[in-house]
Amino acid sequence: MKLEHKILLLNAAVLVATTTIGGLLVLTYQMVPRKLDQSELIHQVSRDITGLAIALDDHQLRSLARSRREWQVVSQRLARHLDQLEERSRGRAHAVSLIRTAHREVDALFHILPASPTGPPTLAERVISDQISARLQDMIGWSDSLAARIKDQLAAAQRRASAIIIAFAMAVLAVAIGSQVFFRRAVLRPLQVLERGAELVGTGRFDLRIERRAEDEIGHLADVFNEMTHRLEELTRSREEFISAAIHEIKTPVAVIKAAAQLMHRIPPEEQAARYPDLLARIDRQCNRLTRLVTGVLEVLRLELQRVELRRRPTDMAALVSRVVEEMQEASSRHRLVITRNDPMEGHVDPDRIEQVLANLIDNAIRYSPAGGDIEISSRCEDGAMHGMVRDRGIGIPADRQERVFERFYRAHAGTPYDLLTSLGVGLYLSRELVNRHGGQLWFESEEGRGSTFYFRIPLRPAGQEGAA
């Protein structure tokens, strides 16, 4: 699962939990003022009932007028309080209706209470008074038990609220710990691994690979990281190969030059005139080879630094082609370089770079046709551009390697005996870069075992100057 989705899920869970627990808490707390209200009313009811008892006492003490007045007022108040209590408890308190019934009963009894303004109470009066007192006692009892029940309910609500708050705190703690664990495992730890990995790569540990732990963004990052170190490793290896190949390539012509020079010392004077021209020609040829090689290596380094500048000047392209072909012909006696077409044209190009490109292509053609034979070269003027071609009948480039031949340091024949024909793996890369800098293209057709044909197209004038003479 993606990290983004995991976080979304975590947030949703937190939201649901918070809403549920918060809702419960709100419900619980809403109940508390209602219960408190009821409790207050019960207290009033108790006081009212006591008021009735006092009014009855007054009656027995023969304060008849006050007693009636008092009873009247308290009785009305009690009825009102009972109504309110009934309403508050939504008719669910049985005790309220009991008290109400008893109240009607005592009210009726009080009003039939015979009263002589003076003298001791009659027997009938005493009987009725006792009955009223007994009912009032019952009413006090019911109201007390109702008060006790409401008090219990309040205490229960308080306990429930505490429990919910504790549960809420636990839930928050659990989420905090859970998300901490989640972030540590899914984000922090893999990021630390990547960070350490990046540091190690910074110190040159390109063989480092990071284990992919999850199918999420960080897992993908690990893949990207591994891809990067793999590319760096390959690049480093190909660079090292390039350096040792370059050393080999440079020492080879130097060895010939040194051998020729030392041999000249050992040739007796009478043979010198006959032998020297050949030896000097060999030295000269190897010097050219060395120059091309060093130039190529330097160009590659400059290209890496993006510092190749074209020095364009008017150039006789046909003469350039003839000159390069003539020079390259000296490199091999087993190959015949044949110019099949060479249109006269003037280009506004960097002649040194174009010579380098043509020489590279011919050099490759010679290298990769070890059996010798003809190498065709042609140069055609068309649409304001030079269309060059170099064709050999050599070993060709295997189909599965054709895509990569323009890669820097890539050698299409690596691992085959032809690998030892000591290409530095930069010739085609360099040639294509130089042609591209001229605004042109370089491409090829090749078939393994039948040879390769390289084509290039170079505009005779830089872009934007085609119309100018």
């Binding site: 020492k251 060895a255 041999l263 070890p370 005996p417 032809y418």
Partner: protein, 129 residues
């Protein structure tokens, strides 16, 4: 520089030079010939095996990087056919010629570029055993 008495039919030691660079091949061959050796040349390993069959040299000077059959493949084939009877001297432009020589169990090594004096010295010493 005098030619040592050798195992050839006319008393001269025969040396086979194997190198894919025609200039190098010619120059080393000429240098050895001027020192009195009989010289055979080959441009790669397979040609070298043919020369050995024809001329039975007393010493082989071997370049490593060559087309068709390189120094490593040649050394293996040569050991299989002739054992260690023909000493091999590796001459290579690689960074560590000693390492290359050890790889194929060669008798000596010459790192390119080399002095002709050193060439004579190594050839003489190796022939002397």
């Amino acid at each position: 520089m005098s030619a040592p008495a050798g195992g050839g039919p006319d008393g001269r030691d025969r040396v086979l030079v194997v190198d894919d660079d025609p200039d190098m091949l010619d120059l080393v061959a000429e240098a050895l010939a001027r020192a009195g050796y009989e010289v055979e040349i080959a441009r790669h390993g397979r040609e070298a095996l043919d020369r050995i069959a024809e001329h039975a040299p007393q010493l082989i000077l071997l370049d490593m990087r060559m087309p068709v059959m390189d120094g490593w493949a040649f050394a293996r084939a040569c050991r299989e056919l002739y054992g260690r009877s023909i000493p091999i001297v590796v001459m290579t432009a690689a960074e560590d010629s000693k390492l290359r020589a050890d790889e194929i169990g060669a008798d000596a090594d010459l790192g390119k570029p080399f002095d002709l004096d050193r060439l004579y010295e190594v050839v003489e010493d190796t022939l002397a055993g």
